[in-house]
Structure formats: C-alpha cells, structure tokens
Amino acid sequence: MQRLIKNGEIIDETWHLLDKDATLDGLSNSDDLIVPLGLWLEHAHALKARDGGLGVWLDSDEQVEAIAEDLQYFQVVALNFPVFSDGRSYSNARLLRDRYQYPGEVRAIGDVLRDQLFFMRRCGFDAFALRADRNPEEALESFNDFSNTYQSATDQPLPLFRRRA
C-alpha cells in the first residue's frame, strides 16, 4: 500500500487516484476518489452525487482557476509534478491557499522527492505522496532543512524583515 506523508506523519493511503483518461464507467460509489480535472469538468453532477469522498487532481499545465468556484466539493486537491523540475504546481498550490482560501488537503503527487518537500510545504502542500521507491521516514528530515525563511509564503505570511528582532 502506498504511504503518504501528512502533517509530518506517515499514514497509509486510502484514496484512489484515477488516471487522466478515466471515465465514469464502473466507478465505485463508496470509495474515496481523486479524479482528474477533465472528468470533473465533464461530470461534476454525477461525481457530486456519489457517497464516497471526492478529490480532484490537476496536472502541471492545468490552472486552479478552473476549479476556483468548485472547491467546496473537494476534500483533497492533488497537484501533479510530472517531473520534479516542473515548478508550476508550486504556484497552483499558493493560489489555492492564499487566493481561494482552500482549507482541505493539498497533496503533491507524481515525481515527489524529499529535496523538494521543504519548498512544497511552504507553498501550502500538507500531504505528500512521495515517489514509491523512496523512503518516507528518511524524507521527514527534509522538513527541517532550513531553520528560517526570508520571504513570505503560505506557511508564514510575514517575511523575515517583519519578524527580525
């Protein structure tokens, strides 16, 4: 079973992440599902009528503006990193939190590696589906990479210059 780093702890994953080309055919009514943006945009009505939990995932070339009006329906918004060097999902995460005040889980999926976790958390991610071949226990150390930060971000709206003693 895939494990997830959430709020600094390692937990078992209970949500199902659907592929980008998933359809409504044969979807379980009661499972917790994270659906691709395309499926949501096409079948929002049917997805809302299910009993199971609902999340949506955006690829790095999709914009959070597309779901800005729908956030109340999602317990999870997952943002994909097709490769760790594609930084677009950092901006999507900040917009979700800072602009649209999304209170649910913001999960990093895809090529998620420990050396990016510190930055991801700063941008508002609170759950991390570390790449399956990596050890999440070791990765936890990376949240302590830096003892302070210069600029404002989702985790600390005050830049250092407003906090300097």
């Binding site: 930084g87 999507n92 930055f119 830096f146 302070n148 210069y150 600029q151």
Partner: protein, 552 residues
C-alpha cells in the same frame, strides 16, 4: 557592505548541511544523476569538460578583503591555484573535486559567502554597477535594493524550479554599467519629480540564441512595491513560460509571444491581488539594509591632489594608466581604481591565489578593505585617495594588475570557451590572446579609444558577444571551429544587439579581420567619434566591403 546577522548566517549554514547530505546520498547511489543535477546546480556545481566547476556568488560584485583571501585559500587548497571572475560578477573554480564541495561551502560560510542559486533554473545573483555608491554620475545607490532582492530570492519556495534561469540587474546611475537592457528583469532605480524613489522596470531582455533588448512594463514603481511586483512577474513567468523547449523557455520568449503590453496586463492583474500584502517593503527594512552601504570614513579634500596631477604630467606610463583605469569619484580627492585582469596571454578574468591575496592586501591598505568584481571581469578598488594612486600603481605593476587597457580593445570580455566548457562550439581564450598580441601598441590602443570586444564560444553568449561593439561568436562548421563577427552591439543605456558582418572566419584570420574593422573606423571617424558612433553613422557596408575584399 552588507554584514550578515544571525538569521543570514544560520541560513547559509543550513544550506551547507543540506548540501552535505545531498552529496553523501548521491555518492552512496541513493540519488540518481538526474535527481542530483538540479540540487548541485542550485549550489553552483557544474560537471564540466574535465572536472566539476564551482561557481561562487559575489552578490552584486561586492567582496571584502577577508572574503577575497578565503577565495585565494580555496584556489590553493582545492583547485590549481587560480580562479576565474565571470561576467556576472561571480567567481568560478575550475578544478574542485565533487566530494570536497561541501567542505568548500563550509569555508565560504565562515566568511558569509555561498554558492546558492548561482546556477539552475532559479533566480540568480543580482548584478549591478561596479561603481555603485561612488560613481560621480550616480542618482540612487542600487546596492540596498540588490541586497533586498537577494534576500527575497534566496530559497524562494515558489520559484526554485522556473522554466529557465532568471537574472535581475539593477542600475542607479546615468550611465548603465549594469546592462539592464539584456536581463530577464532590468531595474533602473530613479527618483520622480517629488523626489520619491522608484523603479523603471524592463522585462524580457537577454542574450543567448535569441538576443533581445528588454521592454519597459512600468515607468515608475514606488519602492514599497518592489517585491510584490517582482513576485507577480515571476508568478506569471512560472505559470506560463514555455517548458517544452529549453531554447524557448526564457521569459523573453513569453514576453515576445504575448507582446509586452499583454504581458504587463497579466502582471498587473496578478499584482492587483498581492499589492499591499505583507511583502510590501517597510521604511524600517530599507533603512536596516541601507545602513550597511553608508559612505566609509573619507578624508576631507578640497579638490584634486596636486602631487598626483603633477605625476600624471611627468610620467607617461602613470598617465596612461590613470586615463584608462581610474573612474571619477563623487568624493573630491578620491578615485575608483580598476585592477585589470586582462594582461595579454592570460585568460580574461583569471587570477592566481597570489593575485587574490595581493588584491586583498591592496584593498586593506588603500580602499577600506573592500573590492568589487566587474562584469568586464576586472576587480575594482572603489575608494582610493588620489594621493595614494602613484604608490598603488607601482604595486599594481608588480602584481600584473596595471595593464592600462580598461575599456579599450584589449580589455576583452571572454567566456572560458572550448578550453574548459562542455557547451562551447569553439575556443575563445586563444582568440582573445591573438587579438591582444596584434594590438600591442599602447598609443594606438589609446587612440582607438573606448571599444568593447566580446567573445563567446557558443550561442549561449556567456561572453556577451551580442552587446560588444565588436562581437565574436564561436561556431561549429562541419566539425571545425569558426568565428562569426558582429558589429554595433552596445550594453549601455541605449542597449542594442550587434549586426552580423557576414560569413564566419577561421581562427587564424581573426586578428586580421579585427584589424581591418579598426582601420575602417580610424579612416572614417570624425575627431570626437568613438567606434560605436562611427559605426552608427556609416553603417555596416564599408566594414563589410573591406573585410571581404578579395586579397590582392
């Protein structure tokens, strides 16, 4: 200069610890080559043709004597006894061992230095005028703003994986010595009619494969909003910049595709949400940073030093040096002195450990223990008493710093080229040397006057060939090294991109080609014209005709 407090110091120490761990994981096989790549790049570590290359940041070109001594120590201990000062005011070591890099970074942290974000697709070292704070033509000191940008950009969590590298330059003087027109963002610090400080903002300039001068997207940005506005530009770029082709990933391609007007609208729309948020700068913070850049303890002089002027009259060698290597200072009785790193037959910008120690020593004795690195790859002592200049000149001669060619044809900007760099199509250093050897008559060089000759070994343009009055680009022609020449580029206030002269030349033809170009200028110039003026008046045709005329 800026002195770290405990926060700044802790952050660079945290970085050393982090990179030590990453290097250990890489050496243990836990991190793949590809995964380690952006981590090492964001610490300035390249894998070059023969060995790794470590690029160390010299923020906006300011370095203390103590820091310079540390660079000399690293060159001696971990390299082959020399270092290379780059066109972006940084310093590069060409031969460190990969496993030593964490230790080198720890040594640097001891003197408040680092290699953070000197490479990789992130916000790089901010550059500025090497005469910031002392130039007679300065309107606003750009350095506090550079430091404020440095802190904002360091480990910015949203912009660590941009589509491509991102360079910001700041200029606060009448002359633009920071080449802000050819940076991703160029900031011109200005005062409006009410005397308030703000920024004229250019975006989308750059060299490389698609050379282009930046477009102005804001004519006066009040200083309080500097960082929120930069955040807005970077966010638009991070989200919409191309990532499918690394040659089309710089912000200039996005600005061009959208048009500058539409790009500006997108920035303003983003900024409307974040303007006035907590990142808005405070008077207190600007004061805190600016107090590190106050004037040193200058002596009072009523004007020029009489002995110094007399020595210039009586000694031609000293006068030649003074004409080229001194810059007017805003304080009477002082001068800014350029230590040339461009003697013939030495790779432009290279300095030995002994020279670095000597430069540190000169700084301590003559210039308040500080130095600057210039984007022309020289060093500067910014605050020298005129009465000390003669003694300083004699010491410079001993150490090889006194080549009186600053701003002249032989003060060549040159990338490391095919001798070191894995990207290069052609060698650049031997071309520089051949040209320097051809123009060995100092009187003639002075007569030719101000001339920027820039050489890049490939189209990545690290030698800034597009903005050389004469630009030379190494190209690969069926496996042979050839050189394309351009004329009329300019990195100053009215920045322009050079035009290509015509078909490229073999290496051994290059000195003759440059000689012919110079001949055309000398024959056509009016008494007050510099090379660039003559070129702009008479155009390309006469140069082309001469250079490509059939030999007879």
């Amino acid at each position: 200069m800026y002195i770290y407090d405990e926060y700044d110091q802790q952050l660079v120490e945290d970085r050393v610890k982090q990179f030590r761990g990453q290097t250990q994981r890489y050496l243990a096989g836990e991190l793949s080559e590809n995964e380690f790549l952006p981590l090492r790049l964001q610490n300035g570590l390249y894998v070059q043709r023969y060995a790794p290359m470590l690029r160390v940041a010299i923020p906006y070109g300011h370095i203390s004597a103590k820091q310079m001594r540390k660079l000399a120590f690293i060159a001696r201990q971990y390299d082959k006894g020399y270092a290379h000062f780059s066109t972006r005011q940084n310093v590069q070591f060409n031969w460190p061992a990969l496993e030593d890099v964490p230790d080198i970074l720890a040594h640097l942290a001891e003197v408040q230095m680092h290699a953070i974000q000197t490479s990789g697709n992130c916000i790089r070292n901010t550059t500025t005028d090497q005469f910031a704070g002392v130039a007679a033509d300065e309107l606003v000191d750009p350095r506090p703003w550079c430091e404020i940008i440095r802190q904002w950009s360091t480990f910015h969590p949203e912009f660590a994986f941009l589509p491509r590298k991102f360079k910001i330059a700041v200029n606060g003087a009448e002359h633009d010595r920071a080449a802000i027109g050819v940076h991703d963002i160029g900031l011109n610090v200005i005062k409006n009619e009410a005397g308030d400080i703000g920024f004229r903002v250019l975006v989308g300039g750059g060299l490389g494969r698609t050379p282009i001068v930046g477009s102005q997207i804001c004519d006066f940005l009040p200083w309080q909003h500097l960082l929120t506005y930069l955040d807005a530009i970077l966010r638009v770029y991070n989200r919409y910049g191309r990532r499918d082709n690394k040659y089309k990933a710089r912000i200039k391609i996005l600005v061009k595709a959208l048009t500058p007007a539409v790009f500006a609208e997108k920035v303003n729309a983003e900024w409307a949400h974040t303007k006035d948020n907590e990142t808005t700068l405070t008077e207190q913070e600007v004061q805190r940073v600016a107090k590190h850049f106050t004037a040193p303890d200058y002596q009072q002089f009523s004007g020029d030093d009489a002995d110094y002027l007399a020595k210039r009259d009586s000694e031609k060698g000293f006068n030649n040096w003074a004409m080229r290597n001194l810059q007017a200072h805003k304080v009477p009785g002082y001068a800014a002195v350029t230590l040339s790193l461009k003697p013939t037959a030495v790779a432009p910008g290279d300095a030995t450990d002994k020279q670095m120690e000597a430069a540190a020593d000169l700084a301590e004795r003559y210039s308040f223990a500080e130095l600057r690195v210039t984007h022309q790859q020289n060093l500067v002592l910014a605050d020298v008493r005129q009465s000390d200049l003669y003694a300083l000149w004699q010491e410079c001669k001993e150490m090889g710093f006194a080549t009186p060619n600053v701003g002249l044809l032989t003060d060549i900007i040159c990338c490391p080229g095919g001798d070191f760099c894995a990207l290069a199509n052609a060698k650049s250093i031997p071309i520089a040397e051949a040209i320097q050897r051809t123009f060995d008559d100092l009187d003639y060089l002075h007569d030719i006057g101000d001339l920027d000759l820039n050489i890049s070994g490939c189209m990545n343009a690290c030698g800034h060939h597009h903005v050389g009055h004469i630009g030379v680009l190494g190209v690969d022609k069926k496996g042979q090294e050839f050189y394309q020449v351009s004329l009329g580029g300019n990195s100053g206030r009215d920045a322009s991109i050079g035009q290509i002269l015509g078909p490229s030349f073999a290496a051994d033809e290059m000195p003759k080609v440059v000689s012919k170009v110079i001949d055309v200028y000398v024959e056509n110039r009016t008494p007050e014209e510099l090379f660039l003026d003559t070129f702009q008046r008479i155009g390309m045709a006469p140069f082309k005709e001469r250079v490509y005329a059939a030999a007879n």
